[in-house]
Amino acid sequence: MSFDFSILVLALPLFMFLFLGLVGVKMGKKITGVVGTIAMGVTLFICYSIALTYFFGTDQKQVIDGVRQSVLAYDWNWLTFTDKLVVKLGILLDPISAMMLIVISTISFLVHLFSLGYMSDEYGKPEKGFQRYYAFLALFTFSMLGLVVATNIFQMFIFFEMVGVSSYLLIGFYYTSPAAIHASKKAFIVTRLADLFFLVGIMVLSYYTNTFDFKELMASPESALSTAHGQTFMGCSVMAWALTFIFIGGAGKSAMYPLHIWLPDAMEGPTPVSALIHAATMVVAGVFLVARLFPLYVLEQGAMNIVLVVGAFTALYAAAIACVQSDIKRALAFSTISQIAYMMTALAVSSNVGEGIHEGGLGYMASMFHLFTHAMFKALLFLCAGAIIHAVHSNENSHMHGLHKYMPITSIAFLIGCLAIAGIPPFAGFFSKDEILVACYEKSPLWGVWMAIVAGMTAFYMFRIYYLIFHWKKHEVKEGHHAPHDMQWTMTLPLIILAVISCVAGFIPFGDFVTVDGKPLETHTNWPVAISSVCIALVGIGLATKMYYKENKLPSQLKSKFNGLWTAAYNRFYMDELYQFITHKIIFQKICKPIAWFDRHIIDGTMNLLADMTTSASFAIRKLQSGSIQSYVLVYFVGAILLAAITMVIVLI
């Protein structure tokens, strides 16, 4: 079956963006939202048809010798750089892009649906800017879909920028709030800085390989890399540099340390947006990028080791911070950072066991699997958080407590999300996380233990959040407020759907569909690893239960005992302050201001000085034209005598 219809997945959201953006204001608010949601539903349907046709289609050409082939559905010339380097826009379908289509369209559709209720007040009246909100959601969906189906690295860069800007617009949706403006600006600039590296990486890579095209690069990664053979820069091969730079680009979007600082602040945006962009889709763009170029990274172990170290460190670092945050969305944000770092690490430990790319590809498969399951349960957690915030009008967990009684559906859905992320069987997270741990152990026991510790911390902080929201003590309903309650069906339905997916997604035989080389990968449960990881998770949950199930003094005692560590983690180890210092105190005060001063006073001063000198010189010369006959006569005679004298001297000599 041909994939000609696949262009619709890009065309429809783009059209919806333009349509809602241009004529949305003229339409009723409610209608805009409904139209946007229906259009997204259609997009969802198309995405599923593409993915199902791709995975289960009976076309003989799709699977050759047991290897699933990638399909180039579209490829248009968009911009010619040189004879060889041409930017194309198109659609490339392969296992990971087909999987991403499912993830993005599912979450995006559910977020569209959820937002109908979330972006309205208690009486169901839509908020100001409702049309704008749906237009931006459509823009984001378009950009994200364009990113995953990219046929070449430049198209990916283009859509990296596009998702960056849609994220900027959506974080800053409440544009009258200074915190939102600041957060959106920060998100854009930090990711832009990362994209700068991405761009430089692309320039280097494309210069030496003479192509942007993924298919050409992947056809024979060895020969692609060998084109720069012997070219080194500061002791490393240029390709290692290029891949490292490209990774930095991905690290910016995926909020890897030290470029993670924008993600917690991005929680200033509306919560469904956080669920869509900052939990499930855009933030995994970096992982997707590394996965896309995986065959190249495997051959450049230097770059791969950087990915590994950054990923492993970020996983632990973010988990530590998540343990003490009091803002529910920020705690979830750090949890997201930690889980994405998990996927990054899984990619990095993959395929260096010396068994060839197929057998070593467990980490790759596990990473993609975790990306899939994580998107589902993290979106679930964020949407639950949205429902809670909508009910209690606050992000702080000190304003929540004891909500289980009031919001039972949300509570159960949140609990399922927590169990899934903690890795308790049979929930989805168990299966994907387990395979990541196996891959880490295969690389080295150090990384296995390291990631297992992170898994324990994950279980702990998730249940801490859960207990603080839904238990701990009785909820105090503020005066003049309604008691919180579960929301209307448009908001609870997405929760239920995602909760069901979080329960069953683990049983998908992922290895049959998504592997690094297209051949199905047999996976076996590694019992020692599985049992130990479940035990660690249970320890984490037990600890959280002891500390946070019922109101008690233990947390505050521990807090005062480890005050220094607690404060440092609560303040995110002062990374924001460091950035603030560098950007504001150094770049703004010590670079920008002096340059502006230099321009006005030295460069412009020189020009003004020239002008002033001309003016004063002409004033001086003006005195010669005094108009008095006596002085003219005097000058005449003096001049004549002088000339005569000079002539005589010359003649005599």
Partner: protein
Amino acid sequence: MEIFSNILIYFVIVPLLTLAGLALCRNKGIGAIRTVAVIGASALMVLAIALVAIFLQERGAGNEAEMLLTGSWTWYEPLNIKLSLGVDGVSVVMILLSAFIVFAGVFASWKMDPLPKQFFLWFFLLSTGVFGFFISIDLFTMFMFYEVALIPMYLLIGVWGSGNKNYSAMKLTLMLMGGSAFLMLGILGIYFHSSADGNLTMNVLEIAKNNAIPENWQLFLFPMTFVGFGVLGAMFPFHTWSPDGHASAPTAVSMLHAGVLMKLGGYGCFRIAIYLMPFAASELSWIFLTLTGISIVYGAFSACVQTDLKYINAYSSVSHCGMVLFAILMFNQTAMTGAVLQMLSHGLMTALFFALIGMIYGRTHTRDIRDMGGMMHIMPFLGVGYVIAGLASLGLPGLSGFVAEMTIFIGSYENTDVFRRVLTILGTSSIVITAVYILRVVGKLLFGAVQNEHHRQLTDANWFERLSTTTLMLSVAIIGCFPNFFVDIIRDSFVPVVKALNEFFPVAGI
């Protein structure tokens, strides 16, 4: 007469006819003045689009000549002064750009007060100079039209400007005149060495073909012409007319000046300095690359701390125009194509910026971003326009800035020497700094709480303002979405210059 069968000459005749039409209007007859101005501007736009069509048709028919629609008419025999016309892809898109900006500029100065008739007279005289420059391929007529475009600027700023306008007008005119003094010397030098056998000529194509300028003379004349045009292209350290000049100039003049006039600089650098003197260009390019490299980063950093909207855009122009000259000096087809795209992009985008700033200033009577806030709430149309212009400026894909900058960076990186590569990477860093100052302005000006309660009564854009800005926004989006249309027109025009350079410099991609 034969000369009138060439479409190019109408690019000079139409503005002159508009001038005549305006002269016939009564001083107070604002309706008639507007009608004449709109007819003139629309006619120019139609002509420009027709020219693109003719150009594409000729190229499609396999006409591979370096310049199309050429023609030459003797003007003053003893000095070999001729009116030589001809266009290649670069001049065609420059003419298209100018026509669009003139069109938008007319609507941006719809409510010009006082002396609307005189304003439009000078405005169209300036346009005559601009179009004349782009259609000429004769050194003398080029120089003449160049001066015609410069002089009205003095009056336009001095009479209709705001703020410290006398100082700014004087500074701008004197600095640009200083530049043209260098240019005059350079052009005379080129003329007297234009041929080895004594048949001196002013025609650019013939001079290039003769290739007779001695190398030691090139080393002297190249800096003259490059600096002469570079002043207009806001090259560091000759850019200081730009912030003051733009700040004082009325809206339409800022638009035309940043949108078109600054492009004369880049175009001249390429067409005269580099094309005619390839040896000196390859010998001395390192000096000017350094200067333009500084321009890019320096302008961007300076823009970060400004508080006056026009100063921010003036410094941003220094950065973006620096990129034009920077790319031209990278000496390969890709980078040079990028330079022209950047000229288009910068022209449209900056014109849009200045139009919007003028409209905002006309309402709030301040351009200080510290006194404004929450404008998005009060004037959504202008606010959205500003965001689009900002996104184009910081290089969002789908808008013009992205394609231009990417073409420049990829092209520049094609050079293998370390010096150019380091500069390229330095240049790319501007994409971050640009994002910083654009988002800073957008955050302060458009978002946040309303700073001044009086601003709440202000109205959004009216129809002529919408028409003016929409034209520019659409153009920015069209270039950003369909860049290959423009690349196809532009790219082949650089073959001759690249071939000439290749004798002295290892041009990538040949």
